[in-house]
Amino acid sequence: MSVRALLHAPASARRGEVVEIRALIAHPMETGHRRDSEGRLLPRDLVRTLEARFDGELVFAAELHAAVAANPYLAFHLRLPASGLLTVRWAGDRGFAHAESVRIEAT
């Protein structure tokens, strides 16, 4: 199944205004401690990092660990410096990588 992620940000806001960004991604967040019905250990499969860049500049980053539930949702705030492109990247175990972008216009 293709990677599914939803990135929500206001399409426009005043310059200098604080806006809320919401990022949700479909991911099992398998801890590596659980076993299947046959007793075999399920290999760890986590989203390890989330990184948000606004026109290339790092504005928010997070490390995720085994205690985070499946389909992790993160919201954070950003003071809008100017119009630009917000890109959120998720990276994790088994070479997992996904990015979503949204353009925010400063008025």
């Binding site: 199944m1 293709s2 599914r4 992620a5 939803l6 929500h8 919401r22 949700l24 991604i25 479909a26 099992p28 967040m29 539930a69 499946a70 389909n71 949702y73």
Partner: protein, 244 residues
């Protein structure tokens, strides 16, 4: 003339035990945090399935079906499928359409693809009253469903009605017993860490009373679905719901 009053009170008590009224969606009794999760589409994790279903619908279904015309469809299932001669639910309709018109294999019950399509279609009917079709061919299934609802099952020897009619609103352990109206399916259940169908919920309940679950899409499960949607007729569809 005190007896009729006492009698009326006793009858009202019996009636309230038989069917709790007014009807409540499970949503009404959830914690504010979980309610907020369902209310806000930008937080609701089931929207991942909706977005996926929308993509699949645009790719596979939109050549024949207009998404706008699909509003209300999810509120009318289960329905009777004349071609197959049996009751089918919305997932069954999607699979029948895939087989007959797209000439593609059926999606497995509980698969992410099927749940995504079902969640997307349900989401299109959000807010509409549940409207079971007035089709006489559905009557036998509804009767069977009503009988199964009252049938004691499993090692715990419990029927659906004993909890969800007679004791709805009370607690089983720490959890509130809902009235069991399927208003929000497919739901994102926090315990499942994913989206699941009404059949998954019903099978889970059967395991809970230590009975052997009925097969996916068995006559029994479809009959119970048909009965439950009839029982919830007129209540607003909430898909995609979030439940604890």
């Amino acid at each position: 003339m005190k007896l009729p009053g006492a009698l009326a009170a006793a009858l009202a008590l019996i009636a309230s035990l038989a069917q709790a009224e007014p009807r409540r969606s499970g949503f009404d009794d959830m914690s504010p945090a979980v309610q907020a999760l369902q209310r806000d589409d930008t937080q609701n994790p089931a929207m991942l399935w909706v977005a996926d279903g929308q993509r699949r619908f645009a790719a596979d279904c939109a050549t024949c079906h207009d998404a706008g015309a699909m509003r209300g469809v999810a509120a009318r299932y289960p329905a009777f499928d004349g071609a197959a001669g049996r009751v089918i639910n919305l997932a069954g309709r999607v699979n029948a359409c895939r087989e007959r018109h797209l000439k593609r294999p059926r999606w497995a019950p509980g698969s992410d693809e099927l749940l995504a399509m079902e969640t997307y279609l349900g989401h299109l009917s959000r807010g509409l009253p549940i409207a079971p079709p007035a089709d006489a061919r559905l009557a036998p299934a509804r009767e069977l469903g009503a009988r199964l609802w009252r049938q004691r099952l499993g090692q715990l020897d419990l029927s659906c009605a004993q909890c969800h009619d007679a004791h709805a609103g009370r607690r089983l352990g720490g959890s509130l017993i809902p009235q069991g109206h399927p208003t929000a399916y497919p739901i994102y259940r926090l315990e499942w860490q994913g989206v699941g169908s009404l059949q998954r919920r019903l099978r889970g309940c059967q395991v809970g009373v230590r009975a052997e679950p009925w097969d996916w899409d068995s006559d029994e499960l479809l009959a119970l679905e048909a009965f439950l949607m009839q029982r919830a007729a007129g209540m607003a569809l909430e898909t995609p719901g979030v439940r604890p």
